[in-house]
């Protein structure tokens, strides 16, 4: 029983544990006066370390050796063939499997060490490098998926095939809503500056799978209504809307008196909730109320709807208002070609906002129980795809190792986990499979991944699937 607490213990201590992170000063007070729109379905098995998650997914698979997985030895190997002893017959995508040579492309970007942890970070990430001691790096992530569709699905839902609930949906299902006027789980698709090789993403990544539909993400959009159909049409003022809703509510209650269908009462409530959302969402997305210091931190890009910077600022505002899970997708990381030309754009998009988000949460006292996750669906190859020159190269998909980082709620800040070989090709120390990562995040959320399941067709279905997953204790503070 070590390390476990009973449900009763938890309830006894619950107020302190669960509530601690919720109550921070500022705009949230108003939202907490009303009860949450739906409670969690699964009481946590452990004291949760995390009450909300902001997940930054880099669609396409960032090249780890150009950003975080420093491989100075590769300088000597420029244009040399990748040794077969390193490749070990590994599955290649059919985009490069026909290539005659696998010439090594050392990163053309320079690296420096930062912080107490001495983490090596690429010159492309000047802001992020300033906060390495707030971050936990996992350089030994791996997956089996090698193409985008199955790989993103694996990362988000624990399964390469579509149709399973994603991490955010599990969070919503287990822990429930903690606000009354906003969705529990929000997704934003940020627009990259450069759009050379944008990959497909789709709502199937943020669906609720076999969980009930309310656990799917609500998509926040950067143009038009932030939530689909949120705003009244032209010519309909708030008071016109109120008038019609008053009439509607009265008529529906009369109808309920006739047939007594409880769903009618639920519908009346949902219309009122919709009305409240019509004012709470604009309040949320109104960035004019942010002080100048916010933009000093996030940069002026944060004022432009649709940018990654804008999405991270909104994510912080959502976290403040009790949104449990915010998923941000940033696209165009699929660097088959033109790493030199594109990667600086990609990194510029995310560097400062990532830094700003973590620091902003920290200064507001929210980082303790907010988890920020950064990563893609797989890594990239050390060898070049297509032409290789000193100036430029491309990199194919690589599932056998990639780097992710986390910050905040319960993670061991300022540490570096795992190690790859000199080629950033194979993991030589402390591998972390996607399912281990999921198990660890679930633990931070307060769940034993083995027991956090729902019964579907008689089987307990869980995020971590059937192959044994392991909580990586070293990642947890």
């Amino acid at each position: 029983m070590s390390g476990m607490i009973s449900r009763r213990d938890l309830l006894a201590r619950g107020a302190g544990l669960l509530g601690a992170g919720l109550l921070a000063p500022g705009a949230r007070g108003a939202f907490l006066s009303a009860p949450p729109s739906f409670p969690g379905q699964v009481p946590p098995h452990f004291p949760p370390r995390v009450n909300r998650i902001i997940y930054l997914h880099m669609v396409g698979g960032p090249p780890q050796m150009d950003m975080y997985d420093y491989k100075p030895v590769m300088e000597k190997y420029y244009d040399a063939d990748l040794p077969e002893s390193v490749r070990m017959g590994q599955r290649l995508t059919t985009m490069t499997s026909g290539q005659e040579r696998f010439p090594i492309a050392p990163s053309k970007f320079s690296f420096k060490r930062y912080g107490e942890s001495g983490m090596w970070v690429s010159e492309l990430l000047p802001q992020t490098s300033r906060m390495v001691d707030d971050m936990l790096f996992v350089r030994s992530m791996y997956t089996e998926a090698i193409n985008h569709e199955p790989a993103i699905s694996f990362m988000q839902t624990g399964n390469q095939n579509t149709g399973r609930p994603c991490l955010g949906a599990w969070m919503s299902y287990g822990r429930g809503s903690q606000n009354e006027n906003l969705p529990t789980f929000v997704v934003m698709v940020a627009r990259p500056t450069n759009t050379e090789q944008v990959q497909a993403i789709s709502a199937r990544l943020w669906s609720s799978g076999y969980l009930s539909g309310e656990h799917a993400a609500t998509s926040f959009r950067s143009s038009g209504d932030p939530i689909l159909y949120l705003n009244n049409p032209p010519g309909v003022s708030a008071s016109v809307r109120r008038t019609t809703l008053d009439g509607l509510g009265e008529l529906n209650r009369m109808h309920h008196d006739r047939l007594r269908d409880p769903e009618t009462l639920t519908r009346i409530q949902q219309y009122e909730l919709a009305y409240r959302m019509q004012s709470s969402v604009p309040e949320l997305t109104d960035l004019d109320s942010e002080p100048r210091s916010t933009y000093t931190l996030y940069g002026d890009e944060a004022k432009k709807p649709g940018t990654f910077a804008n999405a991270t600022l909104l994510a912080r505002r959502m976290a403040e208002r009790g949104v449990r899970f915010v998923q941000i997708y940033h696209n165009n990381w699929d660097t088959h070609a033109n790493v030199a030309g594109r990667l600086p754009d990609q990194c510029r998009d995310i560097d400062r906002p990532s830094y700003a988000l973590v620091q902003d949460l920290k200064r507001r006292g929210m980082l303790d129980d907010t988890l920020v996750i950064w990563g893609g669906e797989f890594g990239r190859t050390i060898y070049s795809q297509g032409g290789l020159s000193k100036q430029n190269y491309g990199r194919d998909h690589h599932p056998r190792c990639f780097t992710m980082w986390m910050a905040g709620g319960g993670v061991r800040a300022g540490s570096i986990h795992g190690e790859t070989d000199d080629f950033s090709y194979n993991i030589v120390k402390d591998p972390v499979h996607i399912r281990d990562f999921h198990a660890t995040v679930l633990r931070l959320m307060g769940y034993d991944h083995e027991r956090f399941s729902v019964n579907i067709g008689g089987l307990g279905q869980k995020l971590t699937g059937v192959v044994q997953a392991h909580v990586i204790e070293e990642l947890i503070a």
Partner: protein, 1052 residues
């Protein structure tokens, strides 16, 4: 007291059993009803069918085994290990073990003991026992019974001490049955006729009229299309368009023709395999072509081949057998007697298609058939023969011309070849073979030009000599290539591309900042083609070669456009060989002239090419195939003709023969021209019509491999088509293919097909199936609420010749269906979800019905059946936010006019971003089979029905019609007009009071803000009547919007 309380708890928390839980110790226990649920939930996971996870080699799902192992001693609970184990206090012995976190209640333990006392009799799972006609039960109220359905329902209500609700009033009933049979509210006249019809047969007549409406087929088809996972895009990666709406129309027509369900089954699963299959039957086989497919660059084909077959098995078994076979992909099924091997035997039936794994990102992935317009069918059929004859004539000449060829060959010199090359100078010629420096030389319109090459450009070895290596624009020419839409041209070049999913312009005169006006030579995923554009995508052509050119190889490419503003006028050649093309856009009318310069290596702003280019030519005419072949092969041909005559034999001569025929042999050229003319005619007919995605068996014998953990590269034993042992044997005389499989599904002894089908139809009317889990009739699923009723319906259905309309008629004629939806306090406790059918069906309509009903009430809805999918109103950005740049379903271009107002089942379904309002209202994504929709009640749904442009416009139209029909002063008359269309009834006095209050306030609001009134009337494409007072119309519009959001309107 305690006991009855426990009874209620059981009723509320466990699946509905067929009868109340047996609490009387003397009562006979029944395995399926009383025992299986306990064992299934608590014991089978470790002691069940799945051999891999079985513990202690003990299985409790098999009586013989359980007795042999001593777990059960029939008649002697005290000697049964099972009884000892479930009572043990020792955590090492107790079952279920503590770590399983499963606990038996004392009552469950007692039930198990009594069952062993009574002899521990087993039964196969209920759904595997063929249905039998139960005796019709005695009921408390004979007068209530209208047909046998009611006996089963009332008997159960009697047992629960409940009474059915009174019959719904006629207006409610007319609305309900109209929505259920046609998906639309009733026409007000139909309602009045029914209300005024005092004859005994009034309701019969109403039902018959609705069943004969063509709307019936549309409505039934919609449910089927969820199960068939029909959509208009491929689903993965690019998620490009797939043109297969002919299948959707086929389903509509099948229901409208009341095609018997057995035939429907056969044509869906195996229409292509029927002897002398008709076009229609082949279209039906599209059911198995509706699955998602991919064309992602890096995939390994086998992985997806396995996924496709798996999807087909899972879909087929859910739809016809109510089995969740998916579990057996990786391991033996834990609850149902289906082992992993049997899953792959089923997969073998579906694993033998000629369909390529990669969909090619084209709308017409093979195998397909052309579906001409009805009026083209006779000529189409005749053309088949004529083309056959013309092709034979061509072939005949190909044989006989050899003599002439050898005569020519003996005399030919390299100079003879020159005659075959285009005789005119190209309009533009850029060799791009200098090999050094930053200056290129070329000729444009007869004038020599010097090109200054960009810094990003470099040199590399070319196909002969050097070639340019581009990275974006290598050079530009201010004046070149400024063509008009009717200007034919041919562009040829040598290119080399590396492997990637990328896209780029080889050369272009195109203003991507101005609707992409101009033209380009385009590459995507190493396919080559062209855009010719006035304004993308609504006014432009896009045609791409279907095949990819080889990566990292020099390839000669040629693209010609004949100036006819039609995709049919574009040809693509790789290495001199004409390519099959896919048309991705085909509507060009405006000019393509643009100010921006001609560029090599990109469009004006973007789409930069990283790759090799040389010998770029543009001709201001369409080159012949032979000219293009000679450009591509001139080096090789010259080599041949440089050989001594004696060596120009065999394969070397053969290389030249085809080229010579096309270039120099007049009889061959004439015959070819005749053939091409016929083919062009055929092409035009094809273009006017549509296509169907069909199934086609490969020649080899069907088989599949058992896959370890379901992984595509972990092949175990090879297996051949066979059906699971738990189901009736596969008859010897049936072929082991999809056709045999379909016939096997329809065998009289088949316990599942008819039950599963009637259950789904029942669900369409009553909201929930008799078996709640419509896709799972297995051991882990809920038991049927009325098994005898289900069996009776199944047998009625099958014995009637699988007559769908007859079945629906029986269901809607029942007193059960006709009940009022009134829920009493008792019923809300005992029957909260109406599973006992203690009242009439009432639930929120499906997404499509909500929209269609509003369009119908407003008079906007069109009545055309079928046709290409449409794109009605949708908020901007739904597609664009998630689609890949190159996807041809990236931009949602809203339709205009009538196409905005068609039924929702015609809405273009992009799988990665389904119609937004539909998805919010619980429409499935159509990615995988869905036999049951969720039905949530959320604020986002309220926002749709309150704010959707489509519904606001419909409200305005309905308000306008009411005011026009009634005059602006007749408030009650206009209200009546609206209410009859939305509710099929008038508002009562109290309601009118509320509504009038709303109206007065709205009038006041809009009087105060007339600008708002005008803004509101601008919503939607249709125009508001100018003869009505805009303030009044605005107020009435919002009043109608209020009424359209009534719970009563949203519910059926």
């Amino acid at each position: 007291m305690i006991r009855s309380l426990a009874g209620i708890v059981v009723l509320l928390t466990t699946p509905l059993a067929a009868a109340p839980a047996p609490t009387d110790p003397a009562a006979r226990l029944e395995f399926n009803r009383d025992i299986r649920p306990i064992l299934s939930a608590n014991c089978f996971p470790c002691h069940g069918h799945d051999s891999a996870s079985r513990k202690a080699s003990l299985r409790l799902d098999d009586r013989e085994d359980a007795v042999f192992m001593g777990a059960i001693d029939p008649g002697n609970p005290d000697d049964s290990e099972l009884v000892f184990r479930i009572h043990s206090d020792d955590s090492n012995e107790r079952m279920p073990p503590p770590k399983a976190k499963k606990f038996l209640s004392d009552e469950q333990k007692q039930v198990l003991i009594r069952w062993i006392e009574q002899g521990a009799e087993y039964q196969p799972h209920w759904s595997l026992i063929p249905p039998v006609r139960a005796e019709l039960p005695e009921v408390s109220d004979e007068a209530w019974v209208r047909n046998p359905i009611d006996r089963f329902v009332l008997a159960r209500l009697d047992a629960e001490g409940l009474q059915p609700a009174a019959e719904a009033d006629r207006r409610t009933l007319a609305r309900r049955v109209s929505l259920d049979l046609t998906g639309l509210p009733p026409d007000p006249e139909l309602v009045e006729e029914f209300v005024g019809d005092t004859s005994e047969w009034a309701y019969d007549r109403l039902v018959d009229r609705l069943l004969s409406s063509p709307r019936w087929g549309e409505h039934r088809a919609r449910y089927w299309l969820d199960a068939a996972r029909y959509a208009d895009t491929h689903g993965f990666h690019f998620d490009n368009e797939r043109e297969m709406w002919s299948y959707r129309d086929w389903v509509i027509n099948a229901f409208n023709a009341n095609m018997p369900f057995d035939r429907f089954t056969i044509e869906n699963l195996a229409g292509d395999l029927l002897p002398d299959a008709t076009l229609e039957q082949r279209i039906g086989s599209g059911f198995n072509r509706c699955n998602m497919t991919t064309n992602e660059g890096g995939i390994i084909d086998e992985e997806y081949r396995v996924l496709y077959a798996r999807d087909r098995v899972e879909t087929t078994s859910q739809v016809w057998l109510g089995l969740t076979t998916g579990c057996a992909v990786c391991h033996d099924h834990k609850f149902d007697p289906l082992d992993q091997r049997e899953f792959y035997q089923l997969a073998a039936f579906f694993n033998n298609t000629t369909q390529p794994v990669r969909d090619g990102n084209v709308r017409d992935t093979q195998p397909i058939v052309a579906v001409p317009l009805p009026e083209d069918r006779p000529r189409w059929d005749a053309l088949g023969d004529e083309i056959g004859a013309a092709a034979a004539a061509v072939e005949e000449r190909r044989e006989t011309a050899r003599v002439d060829f050898h005569e020519w060959l003996a005399a030919a010199t390299t100079r003879s070849l020159a005659a075959a090359l285009p005789q005119d100078e190209p309009y533009l010629c850029l060799p791009l073979d200098e090999g050094e420096g930053a200056v290129g030389h070329g000729v444009v319109d007869g004038q020599p030009v010097e090109l200054s090459l960009a810094e990003s450009a470099g040199w590399q070895p070319g196909p002969s000599g050097s070639a340019l290596l581009t990275s974006g624009a290598a050079c530009e020419l201010e004046q070149a290539g400024d063509f008009e839409t009717d200007q034919p041209f041919t562009c040829t070049a040598w290119i080399k591309l590396s492997a990637s999913d990328g896209y780029a312009a080889l050369c272009a005169r195109m203003d991507d900042g101005n609707g992409y006006r101009g033209w380009d030579i385009w590459t995507q995923r190493r396919q080559v083609g062209t855009h010719v554009i006035h304004s993308w995508p609504e006014d432009g052509l896009k045609v791409m070669g279907k095949e990819q050119i080889l990566a990292d190889e020099w390839t000669h490419v040629a693209v010609s456009y004949d100036g006819t503003a039609s995709a049919a006028g574009v040809r693509v050649f790789y290495n001199g060989v004409r390519q099959e093309t896919s048309v991705e856009n085909d509507k060009l009318a405006g000019t393509i002239r643009t100010e921006v310069p001609f560029k090599v290596g990109q469009r004006h702003i973007g789409s930069k090419l990283t790759g090799g280019v040389c010998d770029l030519r543009v001709y201001r005419r369409v080159l012949t195939s032979a000219e293009i072949e000679s450009l591509a092969k001139q080096t090789r041909f010259a080599e041949i003709l440089a050989l001594p005559v004696a060596e120009r034999r065999g394969e070397v001569a053969d290389e030249l023969y085809g080229f010579w025929l096309g270039m120099f042999d007049q009889p061959f050229r004439d015959r070819t021209a005749r053939l091409e003319a016929l083919e062009r005619e055929q092409g035009e007919i094809r273009k006017r019509g549509t296509i169907a995605h069909v199934m086609q068996e490969a020649d080899e014998a069907a088989s599949a491999h058992v896959l370890k953990r379901g992984e595509y590269d972990q092949r175990l034993e090879q297996v051949f088509p066979a059906t699971p042992a738990m189901l009736p044997p596969f008859p010897e005389e049936l072929p082991r293919n999809r056709l045999g499989f379909a016939r096997w599904l329809l065998l009289a002894e088949q316990p599942l097909t008819a039950r599963v089908t009637v259950n789904r139809f029942w669900q369409e009317l009553f909201g929930t199936g008799i078996v709640r889990t419509a896709g799972d009739f297995g051991a882990a699923a809920e038991l049927p609420s009325h098994q005898e009723l289900l069996d009776w319906l199944a047998l009625e259905f099958r014995e009637s010749g699988w007559d769908v309309k007859r079945l629906f008629r029986q269901m809607v004629m029942s007193a059960t269906y006709r009940q009022s939806a009134l829920a009493t306090a008792d019923k809300l406790v005992i029957d909260p979800r109406n599973r006992l059918l203690s009242r009439g069906p009432r639930f929120r309509m499906d997404a499509e019905m909500v929209r269609d009903a509003a369009l119908f009430a407003s008079g906007l809805l069109g009545d055309e059946i079928g046709g290409a999918s449409v794109k009605p109103y949708q908020p901007d950005g739904v597609w664009e936010a998630i689609a890949m740049n190159v996807s041809n379903t990236r931009e949602y271009v809203r339709d205009r006019g009538d196409r905005l107002y068609r039924r929702s089942l015609y809405w273009f379904w992009k799988r990665m971003a389904p119609p937004a309002s539909m998805e919010i209202l619980n429409a499935p994504s159509r990615e995988i089979c869905a036999v049951r929709r969720e039905r949530t009640n959320t604020p986002l749904q309220a926002l749709v029905t309150l704010n959707d442009e489509q519904l606001i416009e419909a409200a305005r139209q309905l308000a306008q019609k009411a005011l026009q029909a009634r005059g602006e002063e007749d408030t009650d008359g206009a209200l009546r007009f609206i209410a009859l269309r939305l509710l099929a009834r008038e508002l009562d006095v109290d309601e009118r009071q509320v509504v009038r209050r709303s109206l007065d306030r709205l009038l006041a609001e809009y009087r105060e803000h007339p600008d708002l009134a005008n803004a509101l009337l601008e919503v939607g494409e249709s125009r508001a009547s100018e003869s009505l007072d805009p303030i009044r119309l605005a107020a009435w519009t919002m009043l109608t919007n209020e009424l359209m959001n009534l719970d009563e309107v949203l519910n059926k």
